[in-house]
């Protein structure tokens, strides 16, 4: 188990508008960089020692590789410590954040920029080419070849969860309606319309039992964060979101035959237990105030209620039905609007989730979706065939 040797805080961050943007990959990087430095007036590019960039498929979507040095150039950063791009499919942003945290906690540097970016919307005629890589997060030779991109894969998770635990079509729709309604008042979200349960169920049946509104979007967007050691953070800011725990798990399986389950994610449980243990959290449901969890599809959030250790296995559907994940529930889940409402620019999502928790702590989100005085938060991402889970806990109070 990791001993966190130095406290590390998020002291600022910024966001581009997310959606179908009339902007290039490089434009998004510059917008997010500016928004991040604008949010931290006492920190400039000259202060950044390490750069961690979460981006999943620039080779396919933007025909660009070696993107971290490009970010350094575009943002005017002279890196003198660590520079890397992280690729962990849909968890790439949280992976970048985790490595920045580890580098600072280990004393390798004091100030890092974490930037997540994805440009996913291409002219419609290129969509099949863009989807070609999306289908290959499992084994391309034996799974991707069958057309296993995300919607049918998560549709089967939903089918199995409904089959084994009697989760209902309505409960799935309740997740989507909740998150899309949060996004409706989020200025940077891709989807800004309130959506009812009936509208979710009546939307286009893309990959049954999942409908279009059960699925996150195809999104252009970026987000950035400044991380600092406690010593440096004290010099520049009175407020921070302190990283109190961080865990990941992958159980020697990425292709269909080698995943532990199609209705449970024990890797999420392991990753969460690591983070809870580091953070000293005994009862997550009691002690966490806000959670940004990976609702790439509506079913995902229901499985996560269970496997993050908040309710018994199979009770996730009832958790949403009983309103326990609403803003005024046991734990406010996805007040940002989630991936379902904000969209999912793959490499940027984890970064945006952490920024949301910080913004919730400092009370700067739109009032409709502000959680009352949250003190503790969690971000969670799954990646690929949910073969990997990443969990980070954050605290408003310095540990």
């Amino acid at each position: 188990m990791t001993d966190v040797t130095r406290n590390v805080g998020i002291v600022g961050g910024g966001h581009t508008k997310w959606g179908t943007r009339e902007a290039s990959y490089k434009d998004l990087i510059q917008e997010a960089g500016k928004a991040t430095f604008d949010d931290t007036p006492n920190v400039g590019p000259e202060d950044v020692e390490g750069l961690f960039v979460g981006s999943v498929q620039p080779e396919r979507f933007a025909f660009q590789t070696h993107v971290a040095p490009m970010v350094a150039e575009l943002l005017g950063i002279d890196v003198d410590s660590m520079i890397a791009r992280t690729e962990l499919a849909c968890a790439s942003g949280q992976a970048a954040l985790r490595y920045a945290w580890l580098a600072i906690a280990a004393g390798q540097l004091d100030t890092a920029l974490v930037l997540g970016v994805e440009k996913m919307n291409l002219p419609r005629e290129y969509a099949p080419e863009a989807q070609a890589s999306m289908a290959n997060v499992m084994d391309r030779e034996f799974d991707g070849v069958n057309g296993f991109n995300a919607p049918p894969y998560f549709a089967m998770i939903a089918q199995r969860h409904m089959h084994e635990y009697d989760t209902t079509r309505e409960q799935l729709a309740q997740v989507a309606a909740k998150n899309k309604t949060h996004a409706a008042s989020n200025a940077f979200a891709q989807f800004q319309s309130e959506v009812s349960v009936d509208e979710v169920i009546d939307s286009f049946e893309l990959s049954p039992p999942l409908c279009l509104y059960d699925c996150s979007g195809v999104t252009d967007g970026a987000a950035g964060l400044i991380l600092m050691s406690e010593e440096k953070a004290r010099e520049v800011s009175d407020e921070a979101a302190w990283i109190t725990g961080s865990g990941q798990a992958c159980f020697s399986g990425n292709s269909i035959n080698n995943l532990p389950s199609m209705s449970a994610w024990p890797q999420a449980t392991t990753a969460a237990e690591q983070a809870y243990d580091q953070a000293g959290i005994d009862d997550p449901l009691e002690e966490l105030d806000v959670a940004e969890v990976h609702d790439c599809f509506s079913i995902s959030e229901i499985v996560e209620y269970e496997d993050l250790g908040w309710v018994e296995k199979g009770e996730g559907g009832k958790f949403i039905e009983d309103g326990r994940s609403e803003l005024d529930g046991d734990i406010a889940v996805n007040p940002r609007g989630g991936l379902l409402g904000c969209g999912h620019p793959l490499g940027a999502t984890g970064v945006s989730q952490a920024l949301e928790v910080f913004n919730q702590f400092r009370g700067t989100v739109e009032s409709d979706r502000q959680v009352p005085a949250p003190e503790t938060g969690l971000i969670h991402n799954l990646s690929g065939s949910a073969s990997v889970h990443s969990v980070m806990t954050l605290s408003r109070e310095r540990p």
Binding site: F142, V145, L210
Partner: protein, 176 residues
């Protein structure tokens, strides 16, 4: 086009600058054929993969996979090294050609390149007993299927941008 631009051949003007009297024009092809690296099907010969025996067996009509001769672990996909014990003493064993449908869905939009003309198509997870695998489900309608339905193997030939004969497996509902 299958051959390559030859810069020493003055008659080869492909991907070349054309002069029309005004600005020089850089010519790019409107379309390229399916590039090899966007072809989902693996190369299947001994020159290209150390699991060519899997494809040879499939070409002969038998679905197989590797079994570790040291620890007995059955793998899928087939391996060249056992992930359980690191042995490289593996042997190909037959898998059943009939199984049960464990899960399924359908792709109605957003299919990857090379499959966009097949939409809608049904895919699923087939339980063969000791292993499960994902597969196209041919001759199947989503609304007619149920978890647990019997399915059986079919083998298809792949006609694509490489010059050796390739095959792959699919499943279809078992006639009852």
């Amino acid at each position: 086009m299958t051959d390559h631009y030859d810069p020493t051949d003055s008659t080869d003007t492909r991907n070349h600058i054309r002069t029309d009297g005004g600005r020089d024009v850089v010519e790019l092809p409107d379309q390229v054929e399916l590039p090899r690296l966007l072809d989902f099907y693996e190369l299947q010969t001994e020159e290209t993969t150390e699991i060519a025996e899997f494809y040879d067996n499939l070409r002969e009509g038998q679905l197989t996979t590797t079994e570790c001769q040291d620890c007995g672990e059955l793998h899928f996909p087939p391996r060249i090294v056992c992930p359980e014990c690191q042995s490289d003493d593996l042997a190909y064993v037959d898998l059943p050609h009939e199984g049960e449908l464990f899960a399924f869905s359908t792709v109605r939009a957003g299919a990857p390149m090379g499959m966009e003309d097949d939409v809608p198509f049904v895919i699923g997870i087939v339980d063969l007993g000791e292993i499960t695998l994902s597969a196209h489900l041919d001759d199947a309608e989503y609304d007619d299927l149920s978890i647990g339905d019997p399915v059986e193997l079919k083998i298809v030939e792949i006609d694509g941008p490489v010059d050796h004969e390739r095959v792959f497996y699919r499943f279809e509902p078992k006639e009852t």
